[in-house]
């Protein structure tokens, strides 16, 4: 291995300690309880003006919105919680759920909150399996170079990569490089080849880059 002054583990350690520091250090600035006006504004921004679609009472300039803003401040001063005020306005006998800018995370509107994470998990899982199947590579369908690893050589591969790392680092201090397969020459035709615009030019518009072309770079 290469001498590394700081490795990723130590960076992770640093991250964890900073986060702990943030969590437990009594902070010197900010950290005051929100004022009544700030709480009122946060309520304003969560209530849609019933008389002017798509604007919150914070934004709307009609008199009714102004009255609602005054009501919010009055009730907060009386000791109502923010949620109580939201519940008051969104009660079915008053304006109903349509005055809430944020649909409640319960009851019939729970679906709006649940669908995105569910869809995202599903898409993520699909992507995972697609990636895996792409990696296995139905090489029959491929007219490019065959997929990398020969079977059962994971360990050898790691060693090989390390050797290439060391070799290149020793010669040039390279950061990134690519290895097509253990049997071929190491290739350094990464996008990092700042010095060879000609190579990029010649490759543009021509797909896929053939192994021969790649070798020239290596």
């Amino acid at each position: 291995m290469h001498p590394q002054p700081i490795g990723l583990p130590s960076l992770l350690l640093a991250l964890v300690s900073i986060v702990l520091l943030i969590a437990f250090l009594p902070s010197c600035a900010e950290e005051r309880p929100p004022t009544l006006e700030e709480r009122a504004q946060s309520v304003d921004q969560r209530l849609i003006c019933p008389y002017c679609p798509a604007e919150t009472i914070d934004q709307a300039q009609v008199p009714q919105a102004r009255e609602m803003r005054a009501f919010v401040r009055e009730k907060l001063a009386e000791g109502w919680t923010e949620q109580q005020i939201l519940d008051y306005f969104s009660a079915p006998e008053r304006y109903g759920l349509r005055v809430l800018a944020e649909p409640p995370k319960s009851g019939s509107t729970l679906t709006i909150w649940l669908l995105p994470p569910a869809a995202f998990l599903l898409a993520g899982a699909t992507l995972f399996f697609v990636l895996r199947s792409m990696k296995r590579g139905d090489s029959s369908a491929s007219d490019g170079p065959p997929a990398g690893q020969p079977p059962g050589s994971a360990n050898e591969m790691t060693k090989y990569l390390e050797r290439v790392d060391a070799e290149i680092a020793a010669r040039t201090g390279s950061i990134l490089h690519q290895v097509q397969s253990p049997n071929t020459q190491p290739q350094c035709h990464s996008e990092h080849s700042e010095e060879s615009p000609s190579v990029h030019r010649s490759r543009e518009g021509e797909n896929p880059p053939s192994p021969a072309k790649g070798k020239k770079n290596g």
Binding site: S108, G148, P197
Partner: protein
């Protein structure tokens, strides 16, 4: 003039139908002359539409109020320069504008298409003409801008006052142009599918048009935010309104597309995915048009609203399903040139990037349609406002920025673990240092902390790449500035992309700063009374009112000082339009890189000299507007064609080729 306008629309319609048929039949029967005539028809369509637009302009300039559209959207008092805005201020005119822009773009796309692209070009041309036939049919029948009234009114109704703002000269046209421009890469993709040329022929040209559309739409969105910020008077710039979302979704689709198309360009992979992606983006742009014209969701800025909702709904459904049907018919022809080699590679990062971008688009779409879904299934009317989008999309955006930091540092095909860790080392240190500094400075909001940490990661990664590349060249005798410029020129898609990434970071700094650390105060001030907000002392000096022909303009001046030192005098404006019963405000803004001081006056009350002011202190907003020019610069670099005839500035010596390839630490 009105007759000429309508005649040219009908002419363009006939030519578009001819161009579509001639292209397809000519190509299928192998008749080059017919194909050529189809192409010429495309040029003539553009010409006819330009003439049609000019006749609308001249109707405006000559105050021909017999033309209903002119009557409804201008009057004698309107400054002539706003004719340009009035053209697209309503449904019919904006459709004509879209059709004209589309005609010109289609002609340009066909004219500049590369030669080797010939087999599928007639099909692409036919697709473009088919889309145009839709717009022209609507213009000729349901939304004719040249309908005349039975009499000639003495004066028009006037333009919507909210549109009287310099931002309106560029924001709507860029947004509309960007939306329709999605059709061009789309038509190249469909042309490829129809002609069975589904490999990589269409990629270069679709990428170029995709990037132009992306930049146009992005600039349009940013200008819209600027307009909202300065004129709507609520101190914000983005409200996740359905119409804003309608512009954002295709932009997200395009963002995914211009990233993943690079994988196909460089590696010959993701062929299916790119075709599907551009189809999807086209569908999103159709959804955007549908929402804008008679969309079913309430919005603060539907200026072109009409009763044409069902027409655009049909267009959207057909325009989304048909390409996907074609895609599945051709499914077996599309194969990647190469399998994926590693999950730790730039290709894989691009896939995750696409997942996140489409995730944001999906969440946004879901938020827009949910009120309808709820209405139908549960009978409740609900609203989906900012908090939903901020909460759900906020996380996805953080993921995207993380990927923006890591993805570009990954090589194509496969990263070697150790090397990758070392590339990531300095950006990670920079990110952690930023986190520590902000934490010590007292910032506690976890989202703000995470965002700024990731911003540092991205920025440090980009700077590191630039520095390494430049240093390699510097060691070979170039001065640093020259080395940097030549480095940028050596791989424009990549380094232009980095500049755009920096623009996104600059934009993000503005968004995070103003969303988490803004202050808002409502105050009532009598003349010469003062108030102190966040260290600014504001003194209301005076108001003056100017009565214009169609409006009453009130100006309010406030002196601003800080620590006793006078800073500036702000002038905020409130204009009342009795015809429309609308008040438009123009905020008084003092903008600095640190923070904006932003003052909006409220309604003056009869017999009361005091005025309500809403005062905002918005940190870092200034940076958001800076992002626009940087983004355009980056796009220009990425698109700038490389002249392959010029020899490389410093041909690498064979023996040292290896050294030259690798960035040096």
């Amino acid at each position: 003039m009105a007759e000429l306008g309508l005649i040219t629309i009908l002419l363009a319609l006939a030519l578009a139908v001819y161009g579509m048929l001639a292209s397809v039949i000519g190509q299928m029967r192998g008749l080059p002359a017919l194909v050529q005539s189809g192409r010429n028809a495309t040029y003539l369509v553009a010409l006819a539409l330009i003439i049609s637009s000019f006749s609308l302009v001249s109707a405006f300039l000559s105050n021909d109020f017999q033309v209903r559209y002119v009557f409804e959207h201008s009057n004698l008092a309107m400054p002539r320069i706003y004719t340009w805005v009035a053209i697209y201020a309503g449904n019919e005119g904006s459709l004509l504008f879209i059709a004209t822009v589309f005609g010109i773009l289609a002609a340009a796309a066909v004219a500049f298409a590369p030669r080797r692209f010939l087999p599928s070009l007639p099909y692409s041309n036919a697709v473009l003409m088919l889309i145009l036939v839709f717009f022209l049919s609507v213009l000729a029948s349901l939304a004719n801008p040249f309908i005349t009234l039975d009499f000639t009114p003495a004066d028009g109704r006037g333009i919507n006052p909210l549109l009287v703002h310099p931002g309106m000269f560029a924001h709507p046209p860029m947004l509309m142009t960007g939306l329709v421009m999605v059709s061009i890469p789309f038509s190249f993709a469909v042309g490829a599918l129809l002609s069975k040329q589904v490999a990589d022929q269409w990629v270069d040209v679709a990428r170029v048009w995709g990037i132009i559309a992306w930049a146009t739409l992005g600039t349009g969105l940013l200008l819209g935010s600027w307009w909202a910020y300065t004129i709507l008077g609520w101190g914000g710039y983005w409200a996740w309104d359905p119409v804003e979302n309608a512009g954002l979704m295709p932009w997200l689709g395009l963002t995914a597309f211009i990233h993943s198309i690079m994988v196909q360009k460089r590696q010959g992979m993701f062929r299916m995915w790119n075709l599907a992606l551009i189809n999807l983006t086209f569908g999103l742009s159709l959804f955007g048009m549908f929402i804008n014209r008679g969309g079913p969701v309430p919005s603060v800025h539907s200026f072109a609203a009409s009763s044409l909702g069902w027409v655009f709904l049909t267009f959207m459904i057909v325009g989304t399903i048909a390409p996907f049907a074609l895609f599945f018919i051709r499914y077996n022809l599309i194969k990647s040139a190469r399998p994926l080699e590693s999950s730790l590679s730039r290709e894989a990062a691009f896939l995750v990037n696409n997942l996140l971008l489409l995730g944001v688009a999906f969440v946004t779409l879901w938020g827009v349609v949910y009120p309808l879904v709820s209405e139908v299934f549960s009978g409740f009317t609900v609203t989906v406002g900012e908090p939903f989008y901020n909460q759900v999309n906020g996380h996805l955006f953080l993921g995207l920025i993380f990927l923006m930091g890591v993805g570009p540092l990954l090589p194509w095909r496969r990263a070697a673990g150790g090397a990758f860790k070392r590339t990531l080392l300095y950006p990670a240190i920079a990110a952690l240092a930023t986190l520590a500094i902000l934490a010590i400075a007292g910032i506690r909001n976890p989202y703000a902390l995470a965002a700024f940490t990731l911003f540092a990661l991205v920025t440090a990664g980009i700077l590191q790449e630039w520095f390494r590349g430049a240093r390699v060249r510097h060691r070979r005798g170039e001065t640093y500035p020259l080395a940097f410029l030549r480095l940028m020129a050596s791989n424009r898609p990549r380094y232009g992309g980095y500049v755009v990434h920096l623009a996104v970071i600059v934009l993000g700094v503005g968004i995070v700063g103003s969303s988490f650390y803004g202050t808002q105060r409502d105050v009532l001030l009598s003349p010469s009374q003062s108030v102190t907000v966040e260290g600014y002392e504001l003194t209301y000096v005076e108001s003056r009112t100017v009565q214009q022909a169609d409006r009453r303009e009130s100006f309010f001046t406030l002196d601003v000082s800080r620590n006793g030192q006078p800073l500036t005098t702000l002038e905020a404006e409130r204009t009342f339009y009795p015809e429309f019963n609308i008040s438009a405000t123009r905020a008084g803004i003092r903008s600095t890189p640190v923070e904006d001081l932003y003052v909006v006056p409220s309604e003056a009350r009869e017999g009361d000299p005091s005025i309500g002011f809403r005062i905002f202190v918005n940190p870092l907003v200034w940076w958001m507007w800076l992002a626009g020019p940087i983004m355009i610069l980056g796009t220009a670099i990425a698109l700038w064609p490389s002249r392959s005839s010029t020899p490389p500035p410093a041909p690498p010596v064979r023996s040292s080729a290896h050294r030259a390839k690798a960035p040096v630490r």
